[in-house]
Symmetry: C2
Subunit: 319 residues, 2 copies
């Protein structure tokens, strides 16, 4: 009962989220590579969230959460702690809504990321680079401003927003038999599962994760949330552990979690850069690597991958 | 009389070319960057030929030339000498047509380019890296096989094919006031001018070229074809000198040729990589650099740039 209720209500939430964000988010293009499809003996399609606003799917969730705030909440602004794509997404969505964004970033955050968040008009507070310092600092900011915290994945408005990528993907490519996304905190994978299974119950939904940060794989296998011990993957977007809310959806709705080596992440990333002339960040390459490693049975199938983002430091490429 | 005849006949040729290549070429997407538009106080649109088959607009011309060969010509195959995007374009178009492609490449051509041409099924003949050796060798190949030489730009079928990019661009973005392309041999610029002026006579068409290889700028200014003396630009696609046929169109139809520094080419290229998450080769960045250098008066205008290609060696990036 819990399962079906969640499914039904959330597909509706995703449709509503899509209406909310449509005027602001890109309807990202879907590309294919005939070389890759030939090599894998399948038809492979890519939903290019690396070409989304702020260069990542994160804009979908953040804009849904922020654009649907009540007027009372909105006027006090929003807050988050992040050094990644979520920070930029919150900053841009807040600017669109015309409200303040308070972003807590570690002192050692890359300058390019700090500049991007500042360019979107957010007010930045720096803190030590521990999770504890970040949480303390964001709580201080909230105490002072009354801002609403926008969590990167433990929030149904965020999950619904992230699900709009798969919603669009299946609208343009209803032939998909299998859909894969990377899994970090789980917002994208859980939103994708709700959208995809809601629209096409027979579709297979698979999450892909680095072997060295395999908390989603272990949590899924054992049916209970287990954190990451090691976060030394090149896929910086996937270093975070699976969140409670996404996990409650993933354990019911996702068919499989597969893991890949660091070497295949780099070579899959390079393949996409060279053959498709688009820039993806290492996290986006994780499901591509899963196909290249033969971790999923895709022969003769129509396979969709959500390329999650394209933000990477061009001065530190892994080759 | 010559001028208008050429214009009219060639817009028709471009429409026909578009019908010929449509089933095989990508209708490439048009992207914009709100950051760049804001910075330049104009609306800037990019026609992404870096996302075309073989990663460059060259596929349009080569496939138009090859798909319209007579049966007698076709069965003997096609030949070209090139170490660049044209070689891959000829190889792929010949494979689609089901005929042999003979490609003469210099012995020192990068392995990645040789592999790409071979992957498309072409027969490669290596020669010394001088223009003389290339021409002698391609003539030997033709003497032996009876193949038709497909020139990269001195061919009306090629010019018509390259013009299909601007034809599509103005179909999706009829609001364009100005359109810019890079200029090397001149196939893309001349085809663009014919398409754009044919569809929208008031549109401004501008070619952009590296300062250090400014033969098109000098030829255009002086009204007579003048070759490049220096070809040391990073924009490897633009090292070739303007061809006779393209120049005969460009001198009548193009409004202006502007030049840019090597430094601005690199910084414009990096801007597009970082902000738009797409890979462009240095030649594509040349018109972007022209806007960033303020070489064109675009305030308040709708400006279209054809991003010509995205083939670059990821092991030798200019930063």
């Amino acid at each position: 009962m819990h399962k079906s209720l969640l499914t039904i209500s959330s597909l509706e939430d995703i449709k509503k989220a899509h209406e909310v964000i449509k005027p602001y988010a890109h309807h990202t293009p879907v590309f294919s590579s005939s070389q890759l499809s030939k090599r894998l003996n399948a038809k492979v399609f890519f939903k290019c969230e690396n070409l989304q606003k702020v260069g990542a799917f994160k804009f979908r969730g953040a804009s849904n959460a922020i654009l649907t705030l009540s007027d009372t909440e909105a006027k006090k602004g929003v807050a988050t702690h992040s050094s990644g794509n979520h920070a930029q997404a919150v900053a841009l969505a807040a600017r669109i809504k015309g409200i303040p964004a308070y972003v807590v970033m570690p002192e050692n955050a890359p300058k390019v990321k700090v500049d991007a968040v500042r360019d979107y008009g957010a007010e930045i507070t720096f803190c030590a680079s521990t999770l504890e310092a970040r949480e303390t600092t964001v709580n201080e900011v909230v105490a002072k401003t009354g801002a609403t915290i926008i969590h990167p994945y433990n929030d149904p408005r965020i999950v619904a927003g992230q699900g709009t990528a798969a919603f669009e993907f299946l609208s343009t490519n209803p032939e998909l038999d299998i859909i894969l996304t990377p899994v970090g905190g789980g917002g994208l994978l859980s939103g994708t599962a709700l959208a995809a299974k809601g629209l096409k119950p027979g579709i297979i939904v698979i999450g892909a994760e680095p072997e060295v940060a395999d908390d989603a794989f272990r949590s899924f296998s054992q049916g209970t949330l287990l954190p990451n011990h090691n976060t030394s993957t090149i896929a910086d977007g996937l270093r975070t552990s699976l969140g409670e809310l996404p996990f409650s959806i993933i354990k019911d709705q996702v068919d499989e979690i597969v893991t890949v080596s660091e070497e295949s992440i780099v070579s899959a990333m390079r393949f996409i850069w060279e053959r498709m002339n688009i820039i993806i960040e290492p996290s986006s390459a994780v499901p591509v690597a899963a196909l290249m490693e033969g971790k999923v049975d895709i022969a003769g199938k129509n396979v969709g991958i959500i390329l999650s983002g394209g933000n990477i430091d061009l001065d530190h490429l892994p080759w």
